[in-house]
């Protein structure tokens, strides 16, 4: 694992749990179809109660990392061939997704993946599938989801396939909430949404984190927004973590500014430069 750029600051409360993380991904390698090596030793820690961002461009391996954690890789013929994913100290990368949902880890997939022909409310109810709770509890949880997403309540009887992109994203997050998860793996919630909606959705993620105590591991290409809401960030490139640190520091880091926030004078640099940066960083560390 690459070294944090600096020590975690003491005022960032959720970072205190880094020594005893809820979720610990340690040096995993993932291969698709027995031949395509995608993750080449990724390590990251997700402390309880925090929002951890997993950043990186298209194809960096963010989705693959999340799926390795949620055990959704098997159904895509992907396999964790090295390393270990542990949740609360238990090895989980060989279990099945339903087990993980019962343990409290649920993934909201990239591209929302609502059940198109089910109504919004039925979509939410599918999130309740693994739970053994009473009907009264189910309705109470449904109301809670509606209190975070009033828009879903208005559209509860509509087929999810006919709702807008933002509503579908809310539906997918709400559906995950119905499983009463401890940790949500949220894959690219901002994808294809207008900036205003992105703000709204990240705002709700923050609220869920603060008020319901849900831990988030958030994969994003939108570095700017993600680093504003997250506590800690990892930057992934071609299947490797190349940098990590508290979000506030990543935001101020000149390299991140240059390569991911597009704030350099010369504009965004090419991949070549990123590579030379990486070489430079390896020399330094």
């Amino acid at each position: 694992m690459s070294q944090p750029l600096t020590q975690a600051r003491s005022d960032a409360a959720p970072l205190a749990g880094m020594d005893d993380p809820l979720l610990d991904v340690s040096n995993i390698e993932v291969i698709y179809n027995h031949v395509i090596l995608v993750l080449k030793g990724v390590s990251l820690k997700v402390p309880k109660g925090g929002i951890t961002a997993l950043l990186g461009g298209n194809g960096a391996g963010k989705t693959t990392t999340l799926k390795a954690i949620s055990a959704l890789l098997h159904s895509e013929r992907g396999e964790v061939t090295k390393g270990r994913v542990s949740y609360r100290g238990e090895t989980v990368h060989n279990s099945d997704p339903a087990d993980l949902v019962r343990k409290g880890v649920i993934q909201v997939m990239e591209g929302r993946h609502c059940f198109e022909h089910l109504t919004v409310e039925e979509n939410l109810l599918t999130g309740f599938y693994t739970r053994k709770a009473s009907k009264a509890e189910m309705n109470a949880d449904l109301e809670k989801v509606y209190s975070y997403f009033p828009r879903l309540k208005e559209r509860r009887k509509s087929q999810a396939g006919y709702t807008s992109g933002g509503e579908q994203q809310m539906c997918a997050i709400g559906r995950a909430m119905m499983a009463k998860p401890e940790t949500i793996l949220l894959d690219e919630p901002s994808m294809g949404l207008a900036p205003q909606l992105v703000e709204e959705i990240f705002g709700i993620v923050k609220e869920l984190n603060e008020r319901e105590g849900v831990t988030f591991l958030l994969a994003e290409q939108n570095t700017n927004v993600a680093l504003r809401f997250a506590h800690y960030g990892y930057i992934l490139e071609s299947g490797r973590v190349v940098m990590d640190g508290p979000a506030a520091e990543l935001r101020e880091n000149p390299d991140v500014k240059e390569f991911y926030l597009g704030m350099s004078d010369e504009g965004r640099k090419s991949f070549r430069d990123v590579r030379s940066y990486r070489r430079r960083k390896r020399w330094l560390s």
Partner: protein
């Protein structure tokens, strides 16, 4: 009322009765296709297998008796008891559930994520396997199935219609019972699909496997469930057809009649399977009655397929095929 109209009414009624059975067979296909994208070629053979198993259990036949006798030199054929119809039906349902579980465990589970054509081929293999298994377990002779369903012309309908129109309708009791049972089964399946947690999970899987997995729905369980339901539907269909015309190989060909029904109704729609079955049932009987004499009869053999062909050309998604929602 003129005779022609009365005849046509009687023919329509008979067509409806036959149509309900077509719907039932088609429903077996739709259930599996919707949830797993598998076109189950073995559906007809499953009906045959279910009916043969039902007869075998009722008659107290020793399963695999030929095999056992050949290996051990014994002369076993019957246990010497008779099992009441209702109990035998329950046992057969059990056999169909075990079969569903085995199909999932031994075949389909290993083919997850394969092309639809590969899954289809697997079901062709399954069809031949089941056909052989059915012969091996229960013998290949033609069996009569008598689960105590009423047979013969319904006198009440005959009398009532005679009093009303001066012409008594000939409707077979078995058809009436079959139609009622099939209708109840269809209603029960739709209610299950719409209002239970498992039904909702089933529709979720049909919409998006990956997303269903992500919320913790077990695909294995859902697939065993749909194969069991399809097995149950096959049993009911096999029972009706078996009671009507004996349990024999030709029973497995009822699946062929389901194809035009599916093309009409759409492969993914339960209401489509029902309406499609009724249209084909009524259509082929009325066509035979009205047009048949002009073209030398025997139109029932091809009417359904020609109708299906027309649908393929002009409305390939069928009457009720689910619209593909295209919106991001």
């Amino acid at each position: 009322m003129p005779d022609q109209v009365l005849f046509a009414m009687e023919v329509t009624l008979n067509g409806l009765m036959a149509g309900v059975l077509y719907s039932l067979v088609a429903l077996g296909f739709v259930l599996i296709f919707k949830a797993s994208g598998i076109f189950n070629y073995a559906q007809g053979v499953m009906a045959l297998f279910a009916a043969a198993t039902l007869v075998g259990i009722m008659d107290g036949q020793v399963p695999f008796s030929h095999l056992i006798n050949a290996i051990f030199g014994t002369d076993l054929h019957h246990f010497g008891w008779h099992v009441p119809a209702l109990l035998a039906i329950v046992l057969t349902v059990g056999v169909m559930i075990v079969l569903a579980w085995l199909v999932q465990k031994l075949v389909m589970r290993h083919l997850v994520n394969q092309e639809p054509i590969i899954l289809f081929m697997a079901t062709i293999g399954l069809a031949y396997f089941l056909e052989g298994l059915s012969d091996l377990m229960w013998g290949s002779s033609i069996k009569t199935l008598d689960v105590g369903l009423p047979q013969g012309i319904n006198d009440t309908i005959d009398r009532v219609t005679f009093d009303a129109f001066g012409y008594g309708f000939f409707i077979d009791n078995l058809d009436i019972v079959a139609a009622i049972i099939a209708a109840l089964l269809v209603i029960a399946l739709m209610a299950f699909n719409q209002y239970t947690k498992e039904g909702r999970a089933l529709r979720a899987v049909a919409d998006d496997h990956q997303a269903a997995l992500s919320v913790g729905i077990s695909l294995n369980f859902i697939w065993v469930l749909v194969w069991s339901l399809a097995g149950f539907v096959a049993l009911v269909a096999g029972m009706m057809w078996g009671a009507k015309s004996g349990v024999q190989f030709s029973l497995s060909l009822i699946a062929l009649k389901a194809l035009p029904v599916l093309m009409l109704g759409g492969f993914t729609s339960i209401p489509g399977a029902i309406v499609g079955g009724l249209i084909i049932g009524v259509g082929e009987k009325l066509f035979e009655f009205l047009i048949g004499p002009m073209v030398g009869g025997a139109t029932e053999n091809w009417f359904a397929y020609v109708l299906a062909l027309l649908f393929l050309v002009f409305r390939p998604q069928g009457l009720f095929g689910e619209k593909i929602i295209e919106r991001v």
